[in-house]
């Protein structure tokens, strides 16, 4: 198939950036979306032009490195599918495709489609862990965890930290990302000791990074390639409120 691509080109953080149009020919339906971009980049290099910078690594939908807005939807049109797992059979001959970076104040563009997601790491640094040093642990089977709790924890822990939830949200909120970690650790006994301080500190950091608040659009849940439920945001809000009343810092 032949396609027309409109891709966001921005040479650096200070550049204003603009959409540029490229035609690609003979795209196979079995290619992944990123392989289609690889072919474009090889063509650009052959023509002496600078290839399109985009983030990617595992190309198996698990590392969370890739991320781009495809025709207005983070990771493109398929539900629960990262850009690297999107295959060209989803498109048809003659399609025009718009490709843009995540757009959020807390994710500044580094170049073209590459953004800086360091703000996510800083949120985790404020409490997205259990404070247990290596060597402290008791036997793993000492503390039985009901299967339903372990499953719920896993549902939340499946987050790959890609940032699609932020890109999808009209407020550029990171509540689904933050809630996923709070929901994971809050669902297992190991996370209870720090439950209250965790919610408070992570939410404060989320705000400090410049992410917006949640106004219940649920765009995040729809865009999440791992299908993480917005229910976890409710759990986070509950933990946060409890933390305010507990008066702990």
């Amino acid at each position: 198939m032949n396609l027309r691509l409109h891709i966001w080109r921005q040479s650096g953080p200070q550049d204003a950036g603009m959409l540029k149009t490229y035609d690609v020919a003979n795209v196979s339906e079995h290619m992944s979306f990123l392989e289609m971009l690889d072919v474009l980049n090889e063509d650009l290099i052959a023509k002496g032009e600078v290839p399109v910078a985009f983030d990617h690594d595992c190309r198996e939908g698990i590392c969370g490195t890739c991320g781009m807005v495809i025709n207005g939807r983070p990771h493109g049109p398929l539900a629960r599918t990262t850009a690297c797992q999107l295959h060209m059979r989803t498109f048809k001959d003659g399609d025009e495709i718009y490709i843009e970076p995540w757009r959020a104040r807390a994710f500044p563009v580094i170049r073209d489609l590459v953004v800086d997601r360091g703000s996510f790491d800083r949120i985790i640094q404020k409490g997205g862990f259990v404070s247990v040093n290596t060597g402290n642990a008791q036997d793993g089977n000492t503390l039985p965890i009901p299967k339903t709790d372990a499953d719920r924890a896993m549902d939340a822990a499946a987050c790959i930290g890609c940032g699609a939830c932020v890109a999808a949200c009209p407020n550029a909120s990171a509540m689904l990302f933050t809630a996923a970690k709070i929901g994971h650790l809050g669902s297992v006994p190991q996370g209870q000791a720090e439950r209250s301080t965790r919610a408070m500190n992570m939410v404060l950091q989320m705000d400090a990074e410049g992410f917006g608040a949640c106004t219940n659009h649920y765009e995040c849940e729809a865009a999440c390639p791992k299908g993480i439920s917005a229910d976890f945001i409710a759990q986070m809000n509950k933990d946060y409120v409890a933390s305010v009343f507990a008066g702990r810092d």
């Binding site: 590392c63 985790i124 040093n133 299967k147 372990a150």
Partner: protein, 637 residues
Amino acid sequence: MDLKNHIPSGPIEQKWDKHRVELKLVNPANKRKFSVIVVGTGLAGSSAAASLAELGYNVQAFTYHDSARRAHSIAAQGGINAAKNYQNDGDSVWRLFYDTVKGGDFRAREANVHRLAQVSVNIIDQCVAQGVPFAREYGGYLSNRSFGGAQVSRTFYARGQTGQQLLLGAYQALMRQVGLGKVKLHNKQEMLDLLVVDGRARGIVTRNMVTGKVETHMADAVILATGGYGNVFYLSTNAKACNVTATYRAHKRGALFANPCYTQIHPTCIPQSGDYQSKLTLMSESLRNDGRIWVPKNQGDKRSPDQIPESDRDYYLERKYPSFGNLSPRDIASRAAKEACDDGRGVGPGGLGVYLDFSDAIKRLGEKVIADRYGNLFEMYERITGETPYQVPMRIYPAVHYTMGGLWVDYNLMSNVPGLFVLGEANFSDHGANRLGASALMQGLADGYFVIPYTIGGYFAQGGFSPVLQDSPIVQATVREAEEKIQKLLSINGKRSPTSFHRELGKIMWDKCGMARNEKGLTEALTRIPELREEFWQNVVIPGSGDQLNQSLELGLRVADFLEFAELMCYDALHRNESCGGHFREEYQTEDGEAKRNDQDFAYVGAWEYTGVGSKPTLRKENLEFENVQLATRSYK
């Protein structure tokens, strides 16, 4: 050069305990006076950086990703082994030790493997304490599954995302230390060289991938946890950025590279679909618990799988290896698939595929149980191929997956360069010539959580660390070398992209140094690789500049090192006149096509010393002593 492996004396069960008692300690108040650089933030790197910071050392961690959570450990699907014997099925530290030595085709160091089996139980405990959501039974206790090469159920898992969950556990521990100010984390920094001062590893040279600045970072010890070199084949299941640069640069600075020819070809990957293919995707080995592997009995049988009756199917693993069947070790299962395809009985486009069929399991257990166990893997397969394994058998083919070889290390995980430690897939030590499934996660975390925190103290306690200045001549010279290499690459302005060279190199390696090797092919490769390397330095083109994010430049630097390293691999494969594990030399096989080891002449670790680009490296040998597991022909029949 004398290779001292520093294995403690005494019975194998007591070696590690004895060693820990004998290792000198660093007083808690003095730990903050020592600094450590950790390169790589996968399972081994993150767990090491976090654990060392918890002890009080000053740690600097480096990753070329935008976040420490993205390392390729994250992609491991199936699970992690531990000798817990929770299933009451006869497992023990000894059995895990034995299985690993045997699975490695008797080319691993016994003492290291035994220690790995011992600490495996602590890893599970540590991860559970971190909140890792391992799969549980209804009673709330930890669940296990079986993996290849073992007859007990000792694999712990978190759906099909075990690597992700273990890495997030280690990453969170690391983030906690970063938040506490005990670890300084450098994102988007790629190591370009190792700084060796007065014979000791004292720092690294990096390139800031956003600004392009070449920087130096100094410390009292350097830990490389930079993964394997599977991407020398271009197509592999490794992530796109995985590369050999850090370990190869250390090799060029004097560290010995051990057993580079031991590469693992994983039997269950999604077959290639076209020339544009950028990587291969693994389907977890755990699928072999319930899936049955088969090909048509007759050559050229083009019927669709549901039209082929039982009598015309060859379940070749069950036929050839009745006691292990579909759970035969990876090297054996991969070669058997290649044999079937070479025999003209492969399925799918190009005949490079075999069926992995779940219809019996679905009949026996129901679709819901199968969906519970493998749902996410089935979804992934469907996204890539457009076919659903609930209705059509999967098509799979072997692909490069893991590299057992790596930098040579002693029992303390220190290379022959004092102060340079190597952990995880980057070292050579525990898997011999073939790694068993679910053992990579185990080794990465064993090294990082439970070995290096002890052994690095023993090194520091020896003392004698003089301060190294960033402007000392040796440091400046190394930086200049790195900068000149970047300038050279940018100025060639030829006709071919780094990817096109990488692809061509990969093809040479897969054809001549892949699943099966022979003297003629390897000799040919040793002529073609230097030619390709020469063309690279004449004809590569890297658009853009060096002072900003430039992904072509990053790739160019990595491919340049692969083009030298590939030769080392071929030298190793050529010299090892035997077949063992992942190294199958066609000249050395039994009558029924099994690997034929030569213990008389090759029961040693082949550690290579760098002698210059294009010059044959020098072989150093560490003899392997088998005092506890009797050398035997590996049989899974």
